[in-house]
Symmetry: D2
Subunit: 265 residues, 4 copies
């Protein structure tokens, strides 16, 4: 294992890093010597299990900071960025901002039962899963924390360009997230920031299990996938790692499918 990020005093800030793709990415980056800051939102019941994971990350020898708070609150954002600034002092640099927030609404559109999408459902989903990427990028930029060559990464899904039952608010948010990622790729390029989305295949995470009919989605996805299995968090974390390497500097403004080829079937 090469710890290529070690000597660089690089950090990754992971929004939504206590499970699924975010947590797997934290592990992978930590193993390569990147310091990690995780922002997550969990109740007491989950605290012990999560602490175990964080302990394992610390055992890789890197620095780990964690914040249990709401990522869309301006005051949380400001407090965390301030803490990071102190921690970084003059040497630390943020190499990677990773957006892995999956707080959205899974109601349907047609008003035939009570579980129908209303304006505020859309607003909450869009704020959490899309607009927050712009807000965090701005805050970190203002604090001067980004490395000279930095990466803003976020997770999208094939559902951004499809219509899955009960997924419309999330689909809209993922589509908006991709647009915001492109905006960052364009406007922050002069400051050395590259922004890309990873379009992860169907992965058996907590977020997936909340989708109505996730069972049939899983079954279909296994059948569809050229490798006849679901995407695993590690598959995606591997590509987060690749995109953090120097050699990925010319990838910018892209949406990269990481799904074994699921999207071509």
């Amino acid at each position: 294992m090469v710890r290529e990020f070690e000597s660089s005093s690089y950090w990754a800030l992971i929004l939504g890093g206590s499970s699924g793709l975010g947590l797997a990415s934290a592990f992978k980056l930590a193993r390569h010597g990147m310091n990690i800051c995780i922002v997550h939102r969990n109740g007491r019941a989950e605290a012990e299990a999560i602490e175990k994971e964080f302990k394992k990350i610390r055992q890789t020898g890197i620095k780990l900071l964690t914040f249990n708070t709401d990522v869309v609150k301006a005051e949380s954002r400001e407090r965390i960025v301030k803490t990071l600034k102190e921690e970084f002092a003059s040497t630390g640099k943020l190499r990677c901002l990773l957006h892995s927030i999956a707080k959205g609404n899974l109601k349907t559109l047609v008003p035939i039962d009570r579980q129908v999408l209303e304006g505020p459902d859309f607003a909450l989903t869009l704020e959490n899963m899309a607009v927050s990427l712009s807000e965090w990028t701005k805050e970190i930029f203002l604090a001067g924390l980004f490395a000279d060559d930095a990466r803003v990464l976020s997770f999208t899904s094939e559902g951004a360009s499809k219509a899955w039952q009960g997924y419309t608010a999330v689909s809209a948010a993922k589509a908006a997230l991709e647009a915001i990622s492109r905006g960052i790729a364009s406007e922050y390029a002069p400051y050395g920031i590259r922004a890309n989305c990873i379009q992860a295949g169907v992965t058996d995470t907590l977020s997936l299990q909340k989708i109505p009919e996730s069972d049939s989605l899983i079954e279909q996805s296994i059948k569809r996938n050229p490798f006849n299995r679901l995407t695993r968090p590690e598959d995606v974390a591997n590509v987060v790692y690749l995109l953090c390497k120097d050699e990925a500097a010319w990838i910018n403004g892209s949406v990269i499918p990481v799904n074994g080829g699921e999207h071509i079937h």
Copy 2:
């Protein structure tokens, strides 16, 4: 001129119909016998000019209802749908809901001057230009106003998948609008509703003129376009008309470029 919609008691409800693509569509549909309801938002200074346009529409012999109000207010929506229900009585049917709302924020992302996109800017743009499509569709559906074979149309732009300076909030909203249109295309299909987006080319409308650097965008677009001219509102209105015809019933969930081929250069 064939007035094929005349005998059908068909109506089109146009959100944002007092200028640009919305107004041109109103004219084209009226000339083919479709009754029109326009929702718009204009101040007193513009009232006289707009009334002249409305008068011309009425001269085609169809019924025209107009409402000067804010399209995203729930109470406006409810009042208008209620009025339409009374007007339709037992015979009228909504053939077409056309979304032509261009109320968005044109600030930039990077916080180097005061005109930077904040959370509320995104929220306003997304609510007006995207989420409102779902809200109106729902309200009309609940009132039972849609024809057995109805069309939900909305306007998007190439900017939904690009990154133009100062266009990120609108880009996110257009991308979200396309996703919501696909959601409607999927979930309302059992009720005979077809939903599609028209990706209009760069058109010299009031909305365009508000975009920073619109001059260079216009110049570039003329050069890029295989026909070496900008898109005109009439070009787009013509396709709104085609998509309202019976023969377009199998087009659903699509984004159709109407731009002379601008997008291939």
Copy 3:
């Protein structure tokens, strides 16, 4: 039924017009007063059935020319265009060139049995299903037969951007066809020609039945389709008709899905 093409002395030349999408388009256009020239390739066993169809087209009152020959032979092309030129005399004009050729190879890629795609298989498929569009457009242009506002239309499928078992040569040809259509849209625009592809949904035609596993494709497509049925040739013919109308003049260089929304699921 409005016969809007009648007074214009308009013609449509349909390559592959004796069955499926091509034949349905011939019917629809004929019913609206367009004269038709069909090029097809059929053996004696099918002659009688096809003649019956042609007879029905003639009964709409338009002129019908038919040629039973190989569309990719240069000499056939030259002979047919020459005949059309004489037939048109000074009044006729080609409004629509419709490419509906489905002669391709359905072998697989991996050399584990004898039915594997070889170079010549690709070459034959690409020549018939893609390059022929350029060759016919050129021949007709040189003869001066195109109307001032003309349409070059061709049929593609979702398979152009997917990977279906045994479909790789056809997929490559459809992707190449779309590229050639864009090339025509760009380079022939100064001469008033608009070129577009219709991406037809899965339709139960002779071509489909030749695809290995077409049964499962059909079953899946019915399930996928928001309207829970396959695409019918008439659905697609309807859009060929819309694209031939004056109002479609600003649609150029596009790929338009006509599939009830199948592609969003």
Copy 4:
């Protein structure tokens, strides 16, 4: 520099490796310990300069085989694969087949001068730039040379989905190449092969200089690019390297833009 491919006895076979993207990729992979086989086609005048480059590759300490021959000739292909099989003996494995063939025709479509695309021009371009990928993959597979986890990579361009003057045959070939790459990604997945296309930005190579109006394309590309420079062969070679790493195993059937974000403007 980590030579992670060294211990694995991995080889890369590069079709079109004596200049541009292919040569830069050879260098990058060699520096990380990959053995290289280059197939190229050059005349005597270029021999000396190319030998110098090959010498530099050898100085990295890896094995280099080179063949100066026509890549689309079946006998060349068979001979080279046979030689590789002997060279590999029981230990060597092909980790990467890289397709970098840029032999195409740059004529226009409209027959107004003598330089117009004819059927054979399309055929030659499609055979070299697209079909050859399938032929080489098949030959190597039959010889059992692929590693258990192998990569089939090829270079495409934004022109595959655009219409650039004089680029139609190449555009068709690139679109077909992408389709064939998807076919390989799908049908060879059970054998551990991953296939992807890299969509390189406008790069100042010999191939570019042959495109008519390449000067204006270069100027425009610099202006368009968020980083205001052209793509360099090294930028692309870096991503070839990333895609050869173990961590890229779940990227399959994709087209990855490597252009600094050029495509979003």
